[in-house]
Amino acid sequence: MRLVLERFTHNALALLAVTTILFFMFRLMPGTPLAAFINENLNADQQQAMLEQFGLDKPMWQQYGIYLGNLLTGQMGLSFFQRRPVTDILLEVLPNSVILTLTSLIIAYIFGVLAGAWLAWKRGSWIERVAVPVVLATRAAPEFWIGMVLLAFLSFHLGWFPSGGASSPGLAYTSNWGRIFSFDYLQHLALPVITLALYLQGLPLLLMRSNMLEVMHEEFVTMARMKGLSEWRIVIGHAARNALLPVVTAFALGVGLSMGGNVVIETVFSWPGIGRMLVQAVSVHDYPLAQGAFLMIALVLALMNFVADLLYMVLDPRVSHGRKG
């Protein structure tokens, strides 16, 4: 329990540090310090409201405190160009990013784990010697380039998939769940997910393979052999079970990292998620929206780091069960 608290504090402090860095970064940007939250696009009432809410006439340190307080209540200012609360905008697009990330990661990890274990099994064969560089190549390719190639071939050329966005225009749905599970949405989701999964599978594959190779040399695997246990039991029940531990934590970390990295995928496929929102906000200098999007991504990262720590603690008996006499 003490460990949980320690990891929570650690990640919370990291998030605080990020927030602080962000705060000062935006204040130090070219333009007046007010420019972080006020812009001529907003009407006079809105400008006044922002001035008060963020204490923009007060000293820097006070502003910082107010800023943090506002964040905790979910107040991130008004978007310059959409003229409505940043929080609302972000919450609208967040589900799209989450769905994209989770779907891709799950597919990538299931494939990666199975393929990695299989490759470890095929150790020393020509399959391994060819497969490993190929997988490395998938990790070496920029995600967006994979997306571009697939888009050109599968969408524009073959017409199997739509070329962008999350939905075809003119469609209406009764509920959010109805929208997400509609064929149209899934069809739009397919290509981004394929691209992302292709890019992401390399890590779990190589990780699982290298873990399996290490574990297979462990003494307890040799012991299992001496006991005469079946190959299946040894490889799956003992080796894989041990090798899987780091992969599970990598998954959790992957969610956090992907949210940030998906920026490019969302741009290639015009997928309306947080990443794309960040890019658009930065290019038009919509500071509040850019700040908000960045913070949300950082929040997910910190949260998933914490989840990864928790998972590791729960899954490894050496950590979850302390030493006794």
């Binding site: 650690h10 990640n11 990291a14 998030l15 540090a17 990020v18 860095i21 970064m25 935006f26 940007m29 070219p30 150790r123 020393g124 560089p133 490395l136 190549a137 990790r139 070496a140 390719a141 920029p142 967006f144 380039w145 994979i146 571009m148 190639v149 888009l151 050109a152 524009f156 050329h157 070329s163 190779l213 290490e214 040399h217 990292l257 949210m259 940030g260 990295g261 920026v263 490019v264 741009t267 290639v268 990443g275 960040l278 890019v279 930065v282 290019s283 200098h285 850019a290 999007a293 960045f294 991504i297 950082a298 990262l301 910190a302 780091n305």
Partner: protein, 302 residues
């Protein structure tokens, strides 16, 4: 961690077995050798770019009829065709090598230097210095990578140097951490103790005994950093935050994307830059894996 009984270095370590082993590594590892070849190839291309592609990559070219030579397919004159603004794609690809190498190498140099120094200092001296440096490292690691680079370049300006800076800022913690833990274990080694007992100065111990043993690690992370930097630079360019006047593979991809090359099926435009990126990054992977073997030799099924 390589369990060797004898210290890997003798005084005068420039020609020590460690350095020799590191330089010779690619000769033993066919993948690393391929990686080095690829690097050399690209370096050569960058060096002789002007000879290999005499055309100005940014120059808008015209056909004999006086029209812009736009979206031409691959031909003898234009091996990869032209962009929608009539620029020679092949020339862009060749000249783009320079930008890639510049970004990659400078980022790698910074990451390796900072990471190594921080790792050495942190691991060897410990105490509050260590705690402070590791806190800073943690902060850098909790920043989302690409978003941070985007925000930095979006607001500070589309200068390649900003990209390199951002990449270096975010990549050094990984190498610093690993090198630090290596130094921690080396500190307790017998020959380091012996050196301390015989009155060697801190600096001497650090640079003569410990540093050479972590050098392969620095190379591992340098090789990885090259790849990361190039991909990040390409990504940032692709998103439109790069310098539009400097030729790079990322800029080519962005150009292709925004001018609908995908719907026109102009594979010759956007596939080659991606292939080049893959090659350079994979080369980095191979080389770094080669050094990992030197450092942490495992039975590779031989």
């Amino acid at each position: 961690m390589a369990e060797r009984a004898e210290p890997l270095v003798a005084p005068g370590w420039r020609l020590s077995p460690v350095v020799r082993r590191m330089l010779a590594m690619p000769l033993r590892d066919p993948f690393a050798f391929t990686g080095v070849l690829i690097y050399l190839l690209f370096a050569a291309v960058a060096l002789f770019a002007d000879q290999l592609a005499p055309t100005d990559p940014m120059e808008i070219l015209f056909t004999k009829a006086g029209k812009v030579a736009a979206n031409l397919g691959p031909s003898a004159e234009f091996p990869l065709g032209t962009t929608n603004l009539g620029r020679d794609i092949y020339a862009q690809l060749i000249h783009g090598t320079r930008s890639a190498l510049a970004v990659g190498l400078s980022a790698a140099a910074i990451v390796a230097t900072v990471g190594t120094v921080v790792g050495l200092v942190s691991g060897y001296f410990g105490g509050w210095v260590d705690a402070l440096l590791m806190r800073v490292a943690d902060m850098a690691l909790s920043l989302p990578f690409l978003p941070f680079v985007i925000v930095l370049t979006g607001f500070l300006g589309a200068d390649t140097r900003n990209i390199v800076l951002a990449v270096a800022l975010l990549l050094w913690p990984n190498s610093a951490r690993v090198i630090r833990s290596q130094v921690l274990s080396l500190r307790e080694r017998a020959y380091v103790e012996a050196a301390r007992v015989t009155g060697a100065s801190q600096a001497r111990i650090l640079f003569v005994h410990i540093a050479p043993n972590i050098l392969p690690l620095s190379f591992v992370y340098a090789a990885i950093a090259i790849g990361w930097a190039i991909i990040t630079e390409a990504s940032v360019n692709f998103l439109g935050f790069g310098d539009p006047t400097s030729v790079s593979w990322g800029m080519m991809l962005q150009d292709a994307f925004t001018s609908q090359a995908l719907s026109r099926g102009q594979y010759a435009w956007f596939v080659p830059p991606g292939i080049c990126i893959i090659l350079v990054v994979v080369a980095g992977f191979f080389i770094s894996r080669g050094y990992e073997e030197v450092f942490m030799p495992r039975l590779r099924g031989r």
